[in-house]
């Protein structure tokens, strides 16, 4: 039995339409509604210890899915199960083994020092004093929080608050953690620290992590598996490598800077993109020729100053998919 399981899950929202052609009074007494399908027949399951990147453009249905997994939204159709239970019916029971961070919101008590929220969570999650102290000190060290643990939350920077929220989320040693854009608005160093932290805690404790993000670096560094959703529909589910294979296109581009002006190269696998004096670029299909082969073919015959092979990065791939 998988830890998280969604089968044929659908979620509809009812949205009120304000029709400018109708009178305000008619609109008040008989509002018209439209059904918007936020999640459409989604199937996937997650095994314990997996690190899954759940990606898609804004409004794709990512947060809705997470809210259904945490049990605060009921699906319109289909079955959701977490720890083998319906998360809506077993909300409190599941909450003890689960951690959530919504990147745009804070769980901290605004006017009090960070450590006070920790103490409140200790009671809330029924932690024993010994385990609590050990776990807290460890998280404080891993996320480098010792400098501000005694400071009031309202005086903290965004990065400090995010680290504190992450620590809170992992305090009770959850088995499953949902992170909804945990690196939003943070600087490079803090992002790096958070990624290292997530990798380490996943390795040491086998915590399942499902994270949504718009930062491709997050995905490249953390997620071993990608689930792509757009318009509520599942477009891809698989390893990061196979994601690249599937979406990076059929050709790569080789850009060459020759030492001397050179005539256009003629090869059955090269398709000319641009030739300008000593700067050339060609498209080469993956299926016909490897990158190494193409480079050595070019470099063998002519003195070369610089060679660059460009493939679509995750960022470009996503841009293409989202734009469609």
């Amino acid at each position: 039995m998988s830890q998280i399981n969604l089968s044929e899950v659908t979620k509809d929202y009812k949205i009120r339409i304000r029709n400018n052609n109708r009178s305000k009074i008619a609109d008040f007494f008989r509002p018209q509604y439209d059904i918007k399908r936020a999640v459409d027949n989604v199937n996937f399951s997650v095994e314990p210890g997996e690190m899954v990147g759940y990606i898609g453009p804004n409004g794709a249905g990512k947060s809705t899915t997470i809210k259904m997994l945490t049990g605060i939204l009921t699906p319109t159709g289909g079955q959701v199960s977490v720890f083998g239970r319906d998360p809506c019916r077993n909300r409190k029971k599941n909450a003890l083994k689960m951690g959530v961070v919504f990147g745009q919101r804070s769980q901290l008590l605004w006017d009090l020092p960070v450590q006070d929220t920790f103490e409140l969570f200790k009671t809330m999650y029924k932690m024993e004093q010994g385990i609590f102290t050990k776990q807290r000190d460890r998280l404080v060290e891993m996320l480098d929080m010792s400098g501000f643990i005694a400071q009031a939350v309202r005086q903290l920077s965004l990065g400090q608050r995010m680290r504190a929220n992450l620590a809170l989320c992992f305090l009770h040693q959850p088995e499953v953690v949902y992170l909804d854009e945990p690196t939003i608005g943070l600087d490079v160093l803090v992002k790096e620290r958070i990624r290292d932290f997530l990798k380490q805690i996943n390795k040491e404790q086998g915590t399942t992590i499902l994270l949504t993000t718009h930062d491709t670096q997050d995905i490249e560094q953390i997620a071993e598996r990608l689930i792509l959703i757009d318009n509520g529909q599942l477009l891809f589910d698989g390893g990061r490598e196979s994601f690249h294979k599937q979406y990076q296109g059929t050709e790569f581009m080789i850009e060459i800077e020759f030492v001397n002006p050179t005539a256009e190269l003629v090869h059955k696998n090269f398709r000319t993109h641009k030739v300008e004096g000593n700067r050339h670029s060609y498209w080469v299909p993956y299926s016909k020729m490897g990158r190494g082969e193409a480079i050595s073919y070019v470099a063998n015959d002519h003195p070369v100053a610089d060679i660059k092979v460009s493939e679509l990065g995750l960022e470009d791939i996503l841009k293409n998919i989202y734009a469609e």
Binding site: K93, F102, R105, L109
Partner: protein, 266 residues
């Protein structure tokens, strides 16, 4: 149960700690309460001096309002405001992912506010009123206990009505209009603006069949001996009856509300 009590006390401790970090809060709360008391006294003293106050005395009326204000600190729950605000901002998602009940968190944080307000607002007001205005004591020790029982029952009724009205925020996703509506119901039918004995007969009759007066007017009438001792038991029984009805209603609506819930910002 032990878990709930532990969490309850901890939430209260944290809220109190939070409250006392703002000293201006304390001072302004205290001053507001005293100003209100002064304004009330001036108004009623003028009315009684003009001889327009009917069958009551200034002391009785002032006792009614001072005790009413103190009780309201514990009754006028802000569940509605909190639920409304949680829904509007989407914070309710954060609260529902906790392993404890949402209602427990609501009650705890409300009681924390009540406790701090009792210290900073009710206590100074009570002391000043006893010294300078003079309040009527309860008729007997028994009356005092019946009064306290009645206050607790009234508080339960108030909270239930408040919750029921607040749940409509799940459908309307905006709470403020309802909050004013709720307030108006209690002012008109509950005896917040005037003791009900000043009402014309027909309006008094209407109030009898609504739950609002059982929250604040009934306990006060018990305290002041306005309800004949033979009928006190009957009044308490009516309070219990309303609790049963409202509790059932509250559970049913909460069931639908939970099912209906769409957290904003999906």
């Amino acid at each position: 149960m032990v878990y709930s009590i532990k969490l309850y006390t901890q939430i209260i401790a944290k809220e109190a700690q939070r409250f006392f970090t703002y000293r201006v809060n304390i001072l302004s709360g205290c001053l507001t309460a005293l100003f209100m008391l002064g304004a009330r006294y001036a108004l009623w003293a003028a009315l009684f001096a003009a001889g327009n106050a009917g069958q009551s005395s200034l002391a009785e009326t002032m006792t009614y309002f001072v005790i009413c204000d103190i009780i309201m600190i514990w009754l006028a729950s802000s569940y509605g405001n909190t639920i409304g605000e949680d829904i509007r901002s989407g914070d309710i998602a954060q609260k529902l992912i906790k392993p404890c009940s949402y209602h427990l968190m609501l009650v705890s944080s409300f009681h924390a506010t009540s406790m701090t307000s009792t210290l900073t607002r009710a206590l100074p007001m009570f002391i000043i009123a006893v010294i300078f205005i003079g309040l009527l004591p309860p008729a007997s020790v028994v009356t005092l206990f019946v009064f306290l029982l009645s206050v607790i029952l009234g508080a339960v009724i108030y909270s239930l009505i408040d919750l029921i009205i607040s749940y409509t925020a799940f459908w309307l996703t905006d709470y403020w209009c309802l909050s004013w509506f709720k307030r108006a119901l209690f002012v008109l039918f509950g005896g917040l603006a005037l003791p009900l004995w000043f009402y014309p007969g027909w309006l008094y009759e209407v109030c009898k069949y609504l739950p609002f007066q059982y929250t604040i007017y009934t306990p006060l009438a018990v305290y002041l001996g306005r309800i004949p001792s033979g009928q006190v038991v009957f009044s308490i029984a009516l309070q219990l009856l309303w609790i049963c009805i409202l509790f059932l209603l509250e559970r049913i609506i909460w069931m639908y509300a939970k099912h209906k819930m769409t957290v904003q910002g999906g």
